[in-house]
């Protein structure tokens, strides 16, 4: 188990990268604490798998260094980094029994047989696969196969980091939550550093203590699930996390105040900086109906179960609100209220208000 440091990491798949667009990873500086549970969250093509492959050693970065516990491992191949990786679809050795599959990484490292048997038994108990140890691995169901490929990573007790590359992609929905909670439980038991790559916010937020949100080869925010939800540092994070995502509305900044559709809007705190394109960010959860405020007309009401999502038009801009209980009718004229504590200004995508008193 180890602390992982990524410093000045850049990677390009092109042989001679010229502009920033040639880089799959633009500039990554990260510190991951020993024993933490991290998620790398971002849309497809944002560079999260590239980053994962660089940490595991399957890819060598164009620039920058990777340190495990302050030891430079940038040039080391995967088998010398003591890492484990679980792939999108289960990778198992078909012709071997489950027991041999679990023992495989230890046998390759010349671990003594008695110790192997002990570790395999421990891991099998942890994963609830004790009753299938002698079954041929090819006969297992997809979720059990994925458990075995996880087990092959965990069986080594010297493992520095366990990485998951969208491991629930091929698992049936009703088994997903089961495996997900198993993963969380495993992390609490083995206390290894774990990195979980996904584009599914639910998976990321339930698994990780710290979520790293990536977009177009850059880290846009690192934070706990609560921080990401409550105070997105970038409109992308606000939009990507949450369902529905944050309202991002065109706004005008004048005299230290912000206006939306000609009306002044109260913000969480002081505005920082000048110029650029400004936008308001407010989560639908903090938009309420009031007797006075922004005039709007309800365009669409969707009942999503526990609550309803109301889409109202303010001028030509749609604003979403999450409403519990009674909802206005479609076409009704309403007034919207933005909770000031949760209303922020963004400049060129990045947050431009200070936390209020």
């Amino acid at each position: 188990m180890a602390k992982i440091t990524l410093s000045n990491l850049r990677h390009s798949y092109a042989p001679n990268p010229q502009s920033a667009d040639d880089y799959a990873l633009k500039q990554i500086d990260l510190d991951w604490e020993d024993g933490g549970a991290y998620a790398l969250l971002g849309p497809s093509g944002c560079g999260k798998s590239t980053l994962l492959n660089i940490i595991s050693g399957l890819l060598v970065p164009s620039e920058g260094r990777i340190l495990f516990d302050d030891r430079d491992v940038t040039g080391l191949p995967p088998d010398q980094r003591n890492i484990a990786q679980v792939f999108q679809f289960p990778v198992i050795y078909d012709t071997m029994s489950v027991r041999d599959n679990l023992a495989f990484p230890l046998r390759n490292r010349g671990v003594e047989e008695g110790r192997i048997a002990q570790r395999v038994a421990e891991i099998a108990r942890m994963l609830d696969v004790e009753d299938m140890l002698d079954v041929r691995a090819s006969h297992l169901s997809p979720d059990n196969k994925q458990k075995i490929s996880m087990g092959r990573g965990l069986v080594r007790d010297d493992v520095n980091v366990v990485m998951f590359d969208e491991p629930l992609t091929v698992i049936d929905p009703h088994l997903k939550w089961k495996l997900r909670s198993k993963l969380k439980e495993l992390h609490q038991r083995v206390r290894a550093t774990m990195i979980y790559v996904t584009h599914d916010q639910t998976e990321a937020l339930t698994f990780a203590d710290q979520v790293v949100v990536m977009q177009q080869g850059e880290v846009v925010q690192i934070g706990t699930p609560v921080e990401l939800f409550e105070r997105p540092q970038h409109t992308f994070v606000g939009h990507f996390i949450g369902s529905p995502g944050m309202n991002v509305l065109p706004a005008v900044q004048a005299d230290g105040r912000a206006t939306f559709q000609g009306q002044p809007v109260a913000l969480e705190g002081k505005i920082t900086g000048q110029g650029g394109a400004t936008e308001l960010g407010i989560r639908p959860e903090f938009v309420t109906f009031a007797d006075e405020g922004l005039e709007a007309r309800v365009r669409k009401v969707s009942d999503v179960g526990r609550h309803s999502v109301v889409e109202a038009m303010v001028g030509d801009t749609a604003v979403k609100a999450v409403v519990e209980g009674d909802v206005p009718e479609q076409g009704a004229a309403v007034h919207l209220h933005f909770a000031p504590k949760h209303t922020r200004l963004y400049r060129d995508g990045w947050i431009a208000t200070e936390v209020g008193p």
């Binding site: 595991s56 399957l58 191949p77 995967p78 088998d79 890492i83 484990a84 990786q85 792939f87 999108q88 679809f89 990778v91 050795y93 078909d94 012709t95 071997m96 495989f104 990484p105 390759n108 490292r109 006969h139 490929s149 092959r152 990573g153």
Partner: protein
């Protein structure tokens, strides 16, 4: 409950007719000859199973069958491993892939009698390039028209040249279908190249290799053209494989009865070995 629908037979009727005309009818003609004696003019005498008995007891048949098995065995233990090795060393991507594939496919596109003729001219002492090189430049006595061992080496090398590509192409198709994640997982698990081959590549190749071996077995067991054109079954009878012997009996001696009986025995052996092999190879998949 099982429902029966007699109309279904109409849908398989065309196939049944086709199979009847290209397999059943010709085979039944052979069966017809195999139990009778004829001296021409469509006059037949009933012989029962005499021909079968005669063939099964004949030393000549035993010898040809032995040569046939030896030939098939030799080409299989050379072509299958060699094909896998070549497939493993072929590039997985890039501009060389199509080049390699076309080069590999070339020998298989040459008509079989041309293959025999090419190798005949190539290996003849004095006039053939190889024959000249061996005898007159390197000083190694090599004459496939006189020396049985030289003849055997030549037919084996010819078959390896002609058909290893089939194994290569099938194995290559199997190899490129293995997802990268398997190789990455193996790297992380610290597996040696041998273990990668043994536990990832070989298991994934099992199906295509079963097909490759089956095809190569049937083709080589029934081989006629190339060997006949190259050696004519000689020197002596040393390269007279089953099919060559069969043609000698049928068309050389015009013993249609024994030839027919031999054909059926030949057919039964091919079928039996193929079935045994296929059943053994697919046994654990069904479990």
């Amino acid at each position: 409950m099982k429902t029966e629908n007699a109309k279904a037979w109409f849908f398989v009727l065309p196939v049944l007719l086709l199979v009847a005309f290209n397999a059943l009818v010709p085979i039944m003609t052979v069966v017809n000859y195999s139990v009778q004696e004829t001296f021409g003019n469509n006059v037949f005498f009933w012989q029962g199973l005499d021909w079968f008995e005669q063939i099964l007891r004949s030393d000549r048949f035993h010898a040809a069958l032995g040569r046939q098995f030896l030939f098939t065995f030799l080409i299989l233990i050379i072509e299958v491993p060699l094909g896998i090795i070549i497939a493993l060393s072929m590039p997985k991507k890039g501009i060389w892939v199509p080049v390699c594939l076309v080069l590999m496919a070339l020998p298989m596109l040459i008509p079989w009698n041309v293959v025999g003729a090419m190798w005949n001219i190539f290996t003849l002492p004095k006039i053939g390039l190889l024959g000249y090189l061996m005898n007159d430049v390197l000083g190694i006595a090599y004459d496939m028209t006189q020396n049985p061992l030289a003849a055997w080496i030549t037919i084996i090398v010819m078959d390896v040249w002609h058909w290893t590509s089939l194994v290569v192409l099938l194995a290559y198709a199997g190899l490129v279908s293995i997802p990268d994640a398997y190789y990455q997982a193996a790297k992380i698990d610290g597996a040696s190249p041998w273990k990668v081959f043994r536990y990832i590549q070989l298991p994934k190749l099992k199906t295509v290799l079963t097909i490759a071996i089956l095809l190569r077995f049937m083709d080589s067991f029934n081989i006629y053209t190339e060997v006949f054109v190259l050696t004519g079954g000689g020197p002596g009878n040393s390269t007279t494989l089953l099919s060559i012997d069969l043609v000698k009996i049928a068309l050389g001696q015009f013993d249609l009865g024994p030839a027919a009986a031999m054909s059926l025995i030949y057919f039964a052996i091919t079928l039996l070995v193929s079935w045994l092999f296929y059943t053994l190879m697919t046994k654990d998949d069904a479990k």
